[in-house]
């Protein structure tokens, strides 16, 4: 427990230090433009992860490594978690075609993006349909995004991709009404 608290404190100090003192520009990722859709009693959401892939990501993607951006979606009502989903958007670059293969766990589809701008657009769009939310009620929606470390076998070094987001986890919380 103490180790976990210590880690949290250290992470907090590093995040604060990065925000205040660091000269690194990075990316200010944040969720925006939530849209709630209803279809035959089912609920779906759409939102964008803005400002997340503006700087430095292109070079990282172009290493050809398979890179995942993870999304965690929670829906709860009166403190009880009703749905908890974890999915990723996976990007792999093909140097010969100079294109990006995007596999979206949210919509369970794959797209080939011919340009980085196109990739950013598609990668930032999160669409998720809930399978069980049918009742007429208020829900608390919470979405977070994070990335893991990538490993460079060439020099045996790893790199925490969260640094590109200045160690700041984008979070989104909102009440949604189903009727």
């Amino acid at each position: 427990m103490f180790e976990s608290i210590g880690n949290h404190i250290l992470k907090g100090i590093i995040t604060f230090g990065l925000l205040v003192f660091s000269s690194y520009e990075g990316n200010d990722a944040s969720f925006r433009s939530l849209r709630v859709n209803y279809y035959e009693g089912l609920i779906g959401i759409e939102l964008n992860l803005d400002g997340a892939f503006e700087n430095d990501f292109e070079e990282i993607f172009k290493t050809g490594k398979s890179i995942d951006i993870w999304f965690k979606v929670d829906v709860s009502s009166q403190g009880v978690v009703l749905e908890e989903e974890l999915f990723s958007h996976n990007v792999t670059y093909d140097p010969l075609l100079d294109s990006y293969l995007l596999k979206r766990g949210s919509t369970d589809d794959s797209i080939i993006c011919s340009s980085y701008n196109n990739l950013k657009e598609e990668l930032s769009l999160i669409i998720w349909d809930f399978r069980r939310l049918r009742s007429v009620d208020d829900y608390d929606l919470s979405i977070t995004a994070y990335m893991e470390k990538i490993y460079f076998s060439e020099n045996g070094d790893d790199f925490n991709l969260m640094l590109l987001w200045k160690n700041k986890t984008p979070r989104f919380k909102q009440k949604i009404r189903v009727n």
Binding site: G17, Y24, E59, P95, F152, D157
Partner: protein, 389 residues
């Protein structure tokens, strides 16, 4: 209390200036390094060249892809290193800053603590506490300084002890001389009267005629001797005040009334509050000070007596516009048997001081030759807690 910048403040200012400049320098160094990495990174552009290769077989394509990936990985590694440096350079700077700051605090304490100790010790010496022994530790120069200070303090203590001893001897010398003089004064008329009585012994008529006058003289002079002895005894013994609540205004008015027919005494009493003081002592203090004021003044010159409340104390002032006291005599007026009066014993002001101090107060005097003298002392105001103390 007003803040005065001390040695620590100056050290801190110098430290902040040097430290700030160093941080700017280190930061610029890091920024230059980052710029160099960035420039090298931007110069790597192999994609165009690879795309111009002739890829005749699928194996060529795979090799080109691998080469492409490797170059891109190299670029990404450079980029990630740059990001790490940018992100964490503040940590190194902060680490340097914290280390420097704590080292600086340690140094400043090491340097300034002995100086502050010396300053406090000097203040103590200024207040009359000479016997000071500072711990002889710390940096060599400051240790030597403390050693010298301790030696000086010991010498001052010895000098002070010698001074006190010689002052005591001087006081006893003055006291003995004054006392001998005081005793001699009544003895002379007694001796003369006895001589006359012896001379007249053969002539019974003259003897009987002179006898009542002679006994009166002897009786009076014996009374004088007793008075001298009583004063000396009062001065010599320990004074324990018997404090009680009384109105100083009423007591002052009673005392002044007995003088008012012969002397012009102005009063200014601004308070009716009771005091907590030994009433007998108060009576003797006032009569002594008043008598001194009268003795120092011309007959028609007024004397001011005031009673007022100041800072939760009662202040009594007796001021005359008489001959004043010479500057060199001011420090001696409370010495027993010091007097410039022809008919004074020199014990009055010594007793006044003793009574006032016994009641926990202090007497102050202001005097100028030809202008006058003002004596002033304070008394505690009576309240419900006074009796319990």
């Amino acid at each position: 209390m007003r803040y005065r910048p001390g040695i620590r403040s100056y050290f801190i200012i110098v430290f902040i200036v040097i430290f700030g400049m160093s941080i700017v320098f280190i930061n610029n160094y890091f920024l230059n390094q980052q710029e160099e990495i960035k420039n090298s990174y931007e110069n790597i552009d192999a994609t165009k060249l690879i795309n111009e290769l002739r890829l005749d077989t699928s194996q060529d394509s795979l090799l080109a892809k691998e080469l492409h990936n490797n170059i891109n990985t190299l670029k990404a590694q450079t980029k990630t290193t740059l990001i790490k440096v940018k992100s964490y350079s503040w940590m190194i700077i902060s680490l340097i800053a914290f280390t420097a700051f704590f080292f600086f605090i340690f140094l400043i304490m090491k340097f300034s603590k002995p100086i502050i100790e010396l300053q406090k010790a000097t203040e103590l010496i200024q207040r009359g506490f000479y016997d000071i022994n500072l711990p002889e530790k710390g940096i060599w120069e400051l240790k030597e300084l403390k050693k010298s200070f301790n030696t000086m303090s010991k010498e001052l203590t010895n000098t002070q002890e010698k001074l006190v001893e010689s002052e005591k001897q001087a006081i006893w010398k003055d006291l003995s001389r004054a006392l001998a003089h005081e005793i001699k004064n009544p003895l002379t008329p007694i001796q003369l009267t006895l001589q006359r009585l012896e001379e007249k012994y053969d002539d019974k008529e003259k003897f009987y005629a002179y006898f009542p006058q002679a006994t009166e003289v002897i009786h009076n002079e014996i009374q004088n001797l007793l008075s001298i002895s009583r004063n000396f005894s009062t001065f010599a013994k320990l004074v324990v005040p018997q404090k009680s609540a009384f109105s100083p205004k009423e007591t002052l008015l009673n005392i002044i009334e007995s003088y008012s027919s012969d002397f012009q005494i102005n009063t200014a009493f601004n308070t009716d509050k009771m005091t907590y003081f030994d009433q007998d002592h108060f009576y003797q203090i006032i009569t002594n000070l008043l008598q001194n004021a009268i003795d120092a003044s011309q007959r028609k010159t007024p004397i001011d007596v005031s009673l007022k409340e100041e800072h939760n104390l009662l202040i009594v002032c007796i001021e005359d516009y008489g001959i004043g006291i010479e500057r060199e005599d001011i420090s001696r007026i409370y010495n027993p048997y010091f007097t410039k009066k022809t008919n004074g014993s020199g014990i009055g002001l010594a007793l006044v001081k003793k009574f006032i101090e016994a009641n926990g107060s202090t007497i102050f005097v202001n005097s100028q030759v030809g202008i006058g003298t003002k004596f002033r002392f304070s008394m505690e105001i009576y309240n419900e807690n006074s009796d319990s103390r």
